[in-house]
Assembly symmetry: none
Homo-oligomer: 230 residues x 2
DNA sequence: CGCCGTTTGTCAGGAACCTGTCAACCGGGG
DNA sequence: CCCCGGTTGACAGGTTCCTGACAAACGGCG
């Protein structure tokens, strides 16, 4: 089984990540600071390491550099704060393989992790199985290119909109509560009493259902949430 | 076996929860206040924790925060009073995974618990086995989509109507008293002197039995309540 | 068989609730 | 500086819920 080491001091975030990664079938280990992260990585090298650059004690840079100097070869995905351009650069120079800026959607992170794994283990059937196309009505979604078309014509979705659509699809038609959608698309500890989910749903309907007052595919389930009807 | 820890100071409610959860096949442990809840959660981490936010002594918030800070990863479902909007937000921000507002129907709670377990233990066949369909006469109920069809044609039920139908179904044909239905669907244990249950039954009959004066499936048991005949 | 108290069915109105929609705001990036 | 995506709260419209009053049905009993 694929193992992922998350080095993240924020307990909430770490919890959310573990949750979502485990749902995807990964075995997850969490370290709360730099030293612990290094120790765990040495004792039992993971397939992928997710590393927050802002850590108490030894910071993420040092962890990364030290491990690479020791010859650790697993791919490392770093988490940076928004706008810390230099962090990304420095991280990549020190041997990180990719980066995600906070705050980020879980689906985005998962996509990156999968990409890293595919790169690292090209032996299997890497790129092939990840090219998945699904459709409903006259809408077609290509997960490889993150492209959506309606009746053959391309529709541009904002990142959150795309992620939300994907989250709905993953339910295979079953209802998804707002909280489920929140944790899947937005990640951790999201307050669900705002109209955030609904607003994005409305946008999806506008773009994919002609804004019809009676959507045929993106359906409301009163008191619960939404579901996608193929 | 799946273990659930209920932290609830109201003895009646705690007893009711234990009862219902045990019927569903869970192993239940109850703590009557915050400290006891924390102790039990530490000694023996449950698969799901149900936590009342209004507790004597250390309140639920502190319990939740402390456990999360210690790295506890099990899903937590919080119980909040109606209208305490801020409680929900705070709870979710502290790492709760879902919330239910009091008063709540047992069925609703059970559904939430199952959802949490499904998220946490994706090992099995997550979404698949939850797709359950039952039928009686020409009516078909799909619990995954919360969809009801009669003779192939979709019938839209209001949330309470759907819940009530589900409660009847779970009795497997045995009678359910009005009080039973009340506590299962509405969460009130109060004596039933209003026509609430009857009204909803009438609506179900109208939608699913053509409003016939002689229902064939949703039957009245005089002096007791109702039962569902497949 | 008819009476009577009790139980259930039905109905309608208003309260409470939920979702769709919008406009304002915020922060980042060009 | 403006634009864009994302988020939020306010608001409106519609739905759903609940309740109490009344009618109908039932069952026991004289």
């Amino acid at each position: 089984m694929t193992r992922i080491l998350v080095v993240e001091d924020n307990a909430d975030l770490a919890y959310g990540l573990r949750n979502n990664l485990e749902i995807e079938g990964y075995q997850v280990d969490v370290a709360e600071d730099g030293p612990e992260g290094m120790a765990k990585a040495r004792r039992n090298p993971p397939d992928v390491m997710i590393l927050d650059l802002m850590l108490p004690g030894a910071d993420g840079f040092r962890v990364l550099k030290t491990l690479r100097d020791e010859g650790a070869g697993f791919p490392v995905l770093i988490l940076t704060a928004r706008g810390e351009e230099t962090d990304k650069v420095r991280g990549l120079k020190l041997g990180a393989d990719d980066y995600v800026t906070k705050p980020f959607g879980v689906l985005e992170l998962l996509a990156r992790v999968e990409a890293l794994l595919r790169r690292a283990h090209p032996g299997g059937n890497g790129t092939k199985e990840s090219r998945e196309v699904f459709r409903f009505g006259e809408v077609e979604v290509d997960t490889a290119t993150r492209t959506v078309t309606k009746a053959g014509r391309e529709v541009t979705l904002a990142p959150k909109e795309y992620d939300l659509l994907l989250a709905l699809f993953k339910r295979q038609g079953a209802v998804a509560s707002r909280i489920d959608l929140m944790t899947q698309v937005w990640g951790y500890s999201a307050a669900v009493l705002s109209r955030t989910v609904d607003t994005h749903i409305a946008e999806l309907r506008r773009k994919l259902e002609n804004g019809s007052p009676e959507p045929k595919h993106i359906l409301t389930v009163r008191k619960i949430g939404y579901r996608l009807q193929s």
